[in-house]
C-alpha cells in the first residue's frame, strides 16, 4: 500500500517538477513577450485614443485619431503604395525564388558557388544596398541608364519618376531573394527520393513529377514563404527610407516619401508621424490599423491553405 502511495506521490512531484522546469525554460520568452510585445501593444491601444507627443501628458481624444485615419489623404497614398508593392512583389519573389531554388537543387559542378552568389546580395546591409541602387538608378551617372544605351532606349529618371520608382524598388528587392530561396531549397532537399522513384515507375515525366510530387510536398514551405512575404512586404521601411532621403530629393534624416509621395509606404509614414511630427497617438492608431490589415490577410491565407497546402499526417503549423 505504502509503496504505491509513494510511487504515486513520486510521480506527482516529478510531474510538478517538470512543470516548473518547463516554465523556467520558457520564461525568457514569456517575460520578453509580456514586456516587449504585450505591454507595448496595450500602450499603443491606449495611445490610439489620445493626443500624445511624449513631452506633454496624453490627452484623451476618443475616436479622433480613427476619424482622422479615414480622412488622411497621405495615408490613402501610403496604403495604395504598400498594397501595390506587396501585390506585385510577393508573387514575383515567390515564383523567382522558387525557380532559383529549383536551379540550386541541381546536382551540377560548382553548385555551391552558384548558391553563394545567389545568396550574397541578401547579406548586403539594407542601407548599403539601398544607397547602391540609388547610385545605380542615378539619372545622370547611373549604370541603369548606361544599360539602356545598349538597347538604344532613351534615358529614364528611375526613382525620380513617380511611375517608375515603385517598379525600381520591386526590381531591386528581387536581388535579395536569397533567404526565401534557401528556405525553398531546404524544402526541396527534404522531398524523399522514394516518392520520385514511385512516380517514375508510374510513368510520370519531369513535369508530372514536379506537379504531383514536388509541389504538393513542399506546399507548406510555399505557404510559409507566402505568409512571411506578405507580412514582410507590408513593413518595407529601410530601403524606402534611404531611397527617399537620398535618391528622390527628400530631407536627409526624415524620408518624405519621394516625388509626389510615390515611395511613401505605410511604415515610413507611420515613422514620420511618430518620430518626426511626434503624433504618437495617431501613429499608434496607424499601428493598430496595420495590424488589423495584416491579420485579415493572414487569416484569409490560412483559410485558403486548406485548398492547396498538403500536410502529411495531421501536423499543421
Amino acid at each position: 500500500m505504502s509503496t504505491i502511495a509513494t510511487k504515486l506521490l513520486g510521480q506527482r512531484t516529478r510531474r510538478w517538477r517538470e512543470t516548473i522546469t518547463g516554465y523556467l525554460f520558457t520564461s525568457p520568452f514569456l517575460v520578453g513577450f509580456l514586456w516587449f510585445t504585450a505591454i507595448p501593444m496595450a500602450i499603443a491601444f491606449y495611445l490610439a485614443f489620445t493626443k500624445y507627443n511624449i513631452i506633454k501628458p496624453a490627452e484623451w481624444v476618443g475616436l479622433g485619431n480613427f476619424m482622422r485615419l479615414t480622412q488622411d489623404e497621405r495615408l490613402r497614398i501610403a496604403l495604395f503604395n504598400t498594397a501595390f508593392y506587396a501585390g506585385i512583389s510577393v508573387p514575383l519573389y515567390l515564383v523567382t525564388s522558387f525557380l532559383a531554388s529549383l536551379a540550386m537543387n541541381l546536382k551540377i559542378k560548382g553548385i555551391r558557388w552558384y548558391r553563394t552568389i545567389f545568396y550574397l546580395p541578401s547579406v548586403t546591409p539594407a542601407v548599403a544596398s539601398a544607397m547602391l541602387w540609388v547610385w545605380i538608378f542615378n539619372p545622370q551617372w547611373g549604370m541603369a541608364n548606361s544599360a539602356l544605351d545598349l538597347f538604344g532606349i532613351r534615358h529614364q529618371d528611375w526613382l525620380l519618376d513617380p511611375h517608375l520608382a515603385k517598379p525600381c524598388l520591386i526590381f531591386m528587392g528581387l536581388w535579395g531573394l536569397g533567404p526565401t530561396m534557401v528556405i525553398f531549397l531546404a524544402g526541396l532537399q527534404g522531398v524523399p527520393e522514394s516518392l520520385y522513384e514511385a512516380a517514375m515507375i508510374d510513368g510520370a515525366g519531369t513535369w508530372g513529377r514536379f506537379w504531383n510530387v514536388t509541389v504538393p510536398i513542399i506546399s507548406p514551405v510555399i505557404f510559409f514563404n507566402l505568409i512571411m512575404g506578405i507580412i514582410g512586404s507590408f513593413q518595407i521601411f529601410t530601403t524606402a527610407f534611404v531611397m527617399t532621403a537620398a535618391g528622390a530629393g527628400g530631407s536627409r534624416s526624415y524620408g518624405v516619401g519621394g516625388i509626389q509621395d510615390c515611395l511613401l509606404f505605410y511604415v515610413l509614414y507611420l515613422y514620420q508621424q511618430g518620430f518626426y511630427f511626434h503624433h504618437m497617438g495617431y501613429a499608434s492608431a496607424m499601428g493598430w490599423l496595420l495590424l488589423t490589415i495584416i491579420l485579415i490577410l493572414t487569416i484569409i491565407q490560412f483559410r485558403l491553405q486548406e485548398r492547396w497546402v498538403y500536410y502529411e499526417a495531421e501536423r499543421r503549423l
Binding site: L120, P121, A128, S129, W135, V221, A283, R316, L317
Partner: protein, 310 residues
C-alpha cells in the same frame, strides 16, 4: 489525385516511350545526356550569376575611384586610376573605429543571448511536458507573424520613460528576452530541430542522473551545431545590418552603428559616393566571411529544422 485509369494509361505511355527510346540509348547514353543537361544549366546560371554580382562589383569599384571619376558618363567599368586612399580617408573623416566597435558590441552581445536563450526555450518546448506548453508555443508563432511596426512607437515611449533611449539596452535586452520577431523565429527553428533528436539520448542521460540544464548543455547543444550556426548567422547578419533600431534609439553620434553611419556621407546636395561605397564595402566583408565559413552548417540547419512541415 490521378484516377486508376489515368495512372494505368500513364504507365502504358511510359512503357512505349522507353521502348521507342531503346535504339537511342546506345548512342544517347545517360552520361552524355547529363553532360548536356549540365551545360544547359550553366548556360542559364552563368549570366544570371553575373547579373547578381554586377551591383556588388559596382559597389566595390566605385569605392576605388577618385571623386572626379565617379561622376562620368558613360560610367567607368574599371577604375583608372585605382585610388585606395579612399579607404583611409573615409575611415578617418568619421570616428569609424567607434562605429565599428558599437556595431560589434551590439551584434556580439545579442548573438550570444539569442543563441543561448533560443536553444534554452526551444529545449523547453521540445523536451519537457507541462500544462500550457502548446499555448505558449502558439504565442511564439503569433509573435512571428506580428508586424513589428505596431510596437514601434509605444516601445519607444516605454523605453524613453525607463530612460533607456540613447543606450544599447532597448536593442539588446529584447534579444536576451526574446519578445520580438527575430527571437521568436529562432526559438521556432531550435524547437523544430530538437524535435528531431532522439529522446533516448535524454533518457540515457537521465539514468546517469543528469538534470535538464545538463542535458541541454551536454547532449542537445553539441548535437545541434547546424541550427546553432543558422541562428548565429541570421542573428549576426540581422543586427549588423539593422537600421531601424539604431535609427530610433541611438541619437548621439558617438553611439551610432555602422549601418547608421553610412548615411552621414549623404549630404543634402552632394553625396560623397566614393567614401560611402568604401565604408559599405567594408561593411559587407565580415558578413561574407561569416557566411562562407559557416555555410556548411547553414543549409543543413534550415533543412533539418523542418519549416517544411515534416
Amino acid at each position: 489525385m490521378p484516377t486508376d485509369t489515368e495512372a494505368r494509361a500513364r504507365r502504358v505511355v511510359a512503357r512505349e516511350v522507353t521502348e521507342r527510346r531503346g535504339w537511342l540509348s546506345s548512342v544517347w547514353t545517360t552520361r552524355t545526356r547529363s553532360v548536356i543537361k549540365e551545360l544547359v544549366a550553366h548556360l542559364f546560371l552563368i549570366p544570371i550569376s553575373i547579373t547578381m554580382v554586377i551591383p556588388l562589383y559596382w559597389l566595390f569599384t566605385t569605392s576605388l575611384k577618385p571623386k572626379g571619376m565617379v561622376f562620368t558618363y558613360p560610367p567607368q567599368w574599371i577604375p583608372n586610376p585605382i585610388r585606395w586612399e579612399n579607404y583611409p580617408e573615409a575611415l578617418t573623416i568619421l570616428p569609424f573605429h567607434l562605429f565599428f566597435k558599437n556595431s560589434m558590441v551590439y551584434c556580439v552581445t545579442i548573438l550570444i543571448g539569442q543563441v543561448l536563450v533560443s536553444t534554452l526555450v526551444g529545449y523547453g518546448f521540445a523536451r519537457l511536458r507541462f500544462p500550457g506548453r502548446d499555448l505558449i508555443f502558439w504565442l511564439v508563432l503569433i509573435r512571428m507573424m506580428l508586424p513589428g511596426a505596431v510596437t514601434m512607437v509605444p516601445s519607444y515611449v516605454m523605453f524613453s520613460k525607463m530612460g533607456w533611449v540613447n543606450t544599447l539596452l532597448p536593442l539588446v535586452v529584447p534579444g536576451w528576452l526574446p519578445g520580438l520577431y527575430s527571437g521568436s523565429f529562432y526559438i521556432f527553428l531550435c524547437r523544430q530541430f530538437f524535435m528531431g533528436i532522439p529522446l533516448e539520448l535524454d533518457d540515457a542521460a537521465k539514468i546517469d542522473g543528469a538534470g535538464h540544464i545538463r542535458i541541454w548543455w551536454q547532449i542537445i547543444l553539441p548535437l545541434s551545431k547546424p541550427v546553432i550556426a543558422t541562428v548565429a548567422i541570421f542573428s549576426f547578419i540581422t543586427h549588423w545590418n539593422d537600421f531601424m533600431g539604431p535609427l530610433i534609439y541611438l541619437h548621439d553620434v558617438e553611439r551610432q552603428t555602422l549601418a547608421l553611419s553610412i548615411l552621414t556621407f549623404q549630404g543634402a546636395h552632394d553625396t560623397e559616393w566614393h567614401w560611402l561605397m568604401a565604408v559599405s564595402s567594408l561593411m559587407v566583408v565580415p558578413v561574407i566571411i561569416l557566411f562562407f565559413s559557416a555555410q556548411r552548417y547553414f543549409l543543413q540547419g534550415i533543412s533539418m529544422t523542418g519549416i517544411t512541415g515534416r
